[in-house]
């Protein structure tokens, strides 16, 4: 167990150091989410009454598409450098390798969220509460697990850019439904946030366990 944690940490650290030095992903994603908000700002007639109804949808759309790019890159970089095979042949547990990749990609998406949420408050004038941030972070965990699993699955295929959203988006719907509900409540809609957060936590546990078990078959076979 300790060995697997050490492997996951080493993989995540390596990915984060590589991103820090190359700055390939995060600046581009940050620009993308800001541009998405600018377009939404001009595309919708936003006033103080309509903003809380529109903002959650815009937030999840921006997050979903930023996530697809972030998780797709997690394995694309390994493919381009022909390094994945060297990593797999080290005898490290595939689940630990997968966990490290998902952890790094999830953290990079959190960096984008750190740009997205203040920008959302700025463009839409909606409040950013602790509950909203917590809901987005909870959704990020499960989305990272699923996104990285499918990114690993399609990494060696020719039509990977097309297949990744086709495989991932349907399984992200539970996070978007529960996360959307939590964000709507955080922005003033009726309802309770606790139930949506508990649901997000349940989905996180379920998908983290399932993807860790599936990682062996995806990465090793």
């Amino acid at each position: 167990m300790t060995r697997s944690i050490a492997v996951a940490v080493a993989i995540a650290r390596k990915d984060l150091v590589a991103e820090w030095r190359t700055r390939e992903l995060v600046p581009a994603l940050a620009q993308f989410v800001v541009l998405a908000l600018v377009i939404a700002n001009f595309g919708f007639q936003i006033d103080s009454r309509s903003a809380p109804a529109i903002a959650p949808g815009v937030l999840w759309l921006a997050l979903v598409f930023a996530g697809l790019v972030a998780f797709g890159r997690a394995f694309a970089a390994e493919r381009e450098q022909a390094t994945l095979e060297a990593v797999l042949l080290t005898a490290a547990a595939p689940a630990a390798i997968f966990a490290g990749k998902a952890l790094a990609a999830g953290l990079l998406l959190v960096l984008c969220e750190a740009v997205l949420l203040p920008a959302l408050a700025l463009f839409f004038g909606v409040p950013i509460s602790f509950g909203l941030v917590f809901a987005v972070l909870l959704a990020t965990v499960g989305m990272a697990a699923l996104g990285c699993l499918f990114a690993a699955m399609v990494a060696q295929l020719r039509a990977r850019e097309l297949l990744l959203p086709l495989l991932t988006l349907p399984l992200w719907i539970p996070f978007i439904v529960a996360g959307g509900q939590a964000v709507q409540v955080a922005m003033g809609a009726d309802g309770t946030m606790d139930q949506a957060l508990k649901l997000l936590l349940d989905f996180d546990i379920l998908f983290v366990v399932l993807t860790s078990l599936a990682a062996r078959f995806v990465l090793d076979d």
Binding site: T83, E85, A86, L89, A91
Partner: protein
């Protein structure tokens, strides 16, 4: 006990056979050169031996372990140098080796020794993307022996290496069982006692060092 026993190992890519019923026995400490033209099946055979690829059929036993069932245990005992160096360009040479030490559970104290062996100490803190192709190849060779493996699988490690690089290959093979794929007959003669020649996925012949010279 032999280091490698392959019985009737075959592999198909679609309907094309890349390897056709290859038999191979490598004794412990032996150095075997795999020779053949491009497309003969050398890389496929070496990837199967390195457990990077499952054969379509046949039996494979490495170090007394079933190579199809106990792949993870085997990977801890062997080192593999692929045709492409497969190193992280954004990390330094030193960081590349330290990262693989972490994955293998090897002591990071082995990194300076491995850099010295590959004559990369002077460029240890340079990003791998800034190293020449030959230096990257030497880094990949150093990485393959970080955990002191019993068996080395080397797929054309001499590609892009200079004369000193051949000495590095000799140094890492010394004291280990090794299977080396190469186009360089002189290198095969110098480093290996036996050869296996492939053509279109089939074994054309197996021979000794004497036969290569002839």
């Amino acid at each position: 006990m032999s280091a490698i026993v392959a019985e009737s190992v075959s592999h198909w890519f679609g309907s094309e056979p890349a390897l056709d019923a290859v038999d191979l026995v490598v004794e412990r400490g032996d150095h075997v050169a795999v020779l053949g033209e491009n497309g003969a099946g050398k890389t496929t055979l070496l990837r199967i031996l390195a457990t990077a690829l499952r054969p379509s059929s046949g039996k494979l036993e490495i170090m007394g372990l079933d190579a199809l069932r106990e792949r993870r245990r085997l990977r801890g005992r062997m080192g593999y140098v692929a045709h492409a160096p497969g190193i992280y360009g954004a990390l330094t040479a030193e960081e590349n080796l330290a990262f693989f030490c972490d994955l293998r559970g090897a002591d990071r104290a082995r990194v300076p020794e491995a850099l010295e062996l590959a004559r990369l100490t002077q460029v240890a803190r340079r990003r791998a993307s800034e190293l020449s192709r030959g230096m990257q190849q030497r880094l990949a060779i150093a990485r393959a022996v970080l955990h002191d493996p019993l068996l080395l699988i080397l797929d054309e490690p001499d590609a892009s290496l200079d004369a000193e690089g051949a000495d590095l290959i000799a140094a890492v093979m010394n004291g280990r069982t090794a299977v080396l794929a190469t186009h360089d007959q002189a290198l095969a003669t110098r480093l290996c006692q036996r050869t296996l020649t492939l053509r279109k996925g089939r074994v054309l012949g197996q021979g000794s060092r004497l036969r290569i010279v002839q």
